[in-house]
C-alpha cells in the first residue's frame, strides 16, 4: 500500500468537501494536486532533514577531513562522494571546506569529489525527488550523482593541476586550539531540530510556489504538450537544460517541483535529471567564490568535467528510458 494514501484521502476531503469543488474539473485536479503534494513534501522534509542532520552530528566536516586525509586514491574518491551526501553545502562553506581539506593533506582529486557530491546530492533535493518522482528516480539521481562526483574527482586527480590552486591553500597556519566537545543526545536532537527548522524556513516559500505553479500546469496544460520541444528525440534538449540550470542554484527547492510536472507533460526523464543536476551541482555563485582559492582555469576544468558528466547522464537516461 502507498504510505501516502492517508494524505490523498485528506486532500480529497479538503478539495471536494471543504472547498466544494466539483470532482473531475480542471480546477479540482489542480487544487487536489497542490494540497496532496504540499503536505507530502513538508512531511518528508521534516522526517528526512531531521534524520540526516542527526547522522551528521556524528560526522562534522572536521571529522570527515581526518578520515579522508588517510584514504588512498579511488577509495578516497568513493568515500568522499558518499560523505558528501550527508554534508550540507551552502556556497559560503565552499572555501573553508576546500582549504581545510587541502591543508590536512586530503588529495585534490578527493577534495573535488566531495565538492561535487556535497551540493548535488543534498537532502532537500532528495526529499523533492522522492516525493514528486518516486524512489526509483531518486535512486537514479543519487547513483548518477555519485558516479559523476567519483569520476570527476579521479580525473582532476590525474590531471596534476595542483599548481592551479592558490599557494596559500597549502600553507598551514595555526591560530588556536580546536577542542569541539562531543555532543550528547540532547544536543544532537537539538541540533537536528534547529537545522530542520532553519532549512524549512529557508525553502518553504520556493517549495510552495514551485508546487503551486506545478499544480496549475498539472491541471491546465495538456499532457505531452512539451514532448514536441523537449522529448527524448531532441538532441539539444539536454545541453540546453544544463545551461539553463546553472544560474538557478538558490531556487533548487522551487525548481524541482516544476520539473516534476514538466516531466509529466512530455519532457524526457534524462533531460529532467540533467536539468536538476545542473541546478544543484553547477552553481555560478559557488564558482565566483572559488576564484579566491583557485585559478579560473581550474574552475573551468571543474565545471567542464562535471558539466560533461551531467550531459552524458542526461543522454544516457533519455536513451535507456526514452519514451
Amino acid at each position: 500500500m502507498d504510505i501516502f494514501y492517508p494524505i490523498q484521502i485528506l486532500a480529497d476531503w479538503l478539495t471536494y468537501v471543504v472547498f466544494g469543488i466539483i470532482p473531475g474539473t480542471l480546477l479540482a485536479g489542480a487544487v487536489n494536486f497542490f494540497i496532496f503534494d504540499t503536505i507530502k513534501i513538508f512531511l518528508l522534509l521534516l522526517v528526512i532533514i531531521f534524520s540526516v542532520s542527526l547522522i551528521r552530528s556524528f560526522l562534522p566536516p572536521e571529522k570527515i577531513r581526518n578520515i579522508l586525509s588517510h584514504e588512498k586514491k579511488y577509495f578516497g574518491n568513493i568515500l568522499a562522494s558518499l560523505l558528501g551526501i550527508i554534508t550540507p553545502f551552502c556556497t559560503c562553506s565552499a572555501i573553508p571546506l576546500f582549504l581545510g581539506f587541502l591543508e590536512a593533506g586530503v588529495p585534490l582529486g578527493t577534495t573535488f569529489s566531495f565538492l561535487v557530491a556535497s551540493p548535488m546530492i543534498n537532502e532537500v533535493a532528495l526529499v523533492l525527488l522522492l516525493g514528486l518522482f518516486g524512489w526509483k528516480i531518486a535512486l537514479l539521481y543519487i547513483a548518477s550523482g555519485l558516479a559523476i562526483a567519483i569520476i570527476s574527482g579521479i580525473i582532476i586527480g590525474h590531471l596534476k593541476v595542483e599548481n592551479l590552486v592558490e599557494e596559500f591553500a597549502y600553507k598551514s597556519k595555526s591560530n588556536g586550539r580546536l577542542q569541539l566537545p562531543e555532543m550528547d543526545w540532547k544536543q544532537r536532537t537539538d541540533y537536528a531540530k534547529n537545522y530542520t527548522a532553519d532549512i524549512i524556513k529557508k525553502v518553504w516559500i520556493y517549495v510552495v510556489v514551485g508546487i503551486g505553479i506545478g499544480a496549475w500546469i498539472h491541471g491546465y496544460v495538456p499532457a505531452d504538450f512539451l514532448a514536441r520541444y523537449a522529448g527524448s528525440g531532441k538532441w539539444y534538449a539536454v545541453p540546453l537544460a544544463v545551461l539553463v540550470g546553472i544560474p538557478l542554484y538558490s531556487n533548487a527547492a522551487g525548481v524541482i517541483p516544476l520539473v516534476g510536472v514538466l516531466t509529466e507533460k512530455g519532457v524526457s526523464i534524462g533531460t529532467s535529471l540533467a536539468f536538476m543536476m545542473a541546478v544543484t551541482g553547477l552553481s555560478l555563485p559557488e564558482f565566483l567564490i572559488l576564484k579566491k582559492v583557485m585559478k579560473t582555469k581550474l574552475i573551468l576544468i571543474f565545471a567542464g568535467i562535471v558539466g560533461m558528466g551531467i550531459i552524458f547522464t542526461g543522454y544516457l537516461f533519455n536513451f535507456i528510458l526514452g519514451h
Binding site: P60, L99, N175, D190
Partner: protein
Amino acid sequence: MDIKILGTGCPNCQRLEQNTKQALEELKIEAVVEKVTDIQDIIGYGIMSTPALVVDGNVLLAGMVPSVNDIKEKIENYIK
C-alpha cells in the same frame, strides 16, 4: 575574556554575533567581541564550517548558530 566570531559575513555569522553578545550581557561578562573574516585566519583555527565561536583561542563551537541559552551554557562551562 577574548571572544572571536569566525565567519565570512554570512547571515548566520551575524546571528551568532548577536546571540553571543546577548549571552555575555546576561552573564554580565565584560569581553571584547571581535569578528574574524579573513578566510586564512579562519582556517588557522582548524575549523571547516562557519560560523564558529572562539574564546581565548579555544574553539567552542563551529558550523551552527546556537540559542542564547546554549551559548551561555558553553561559556559558563568554559569558565569552570
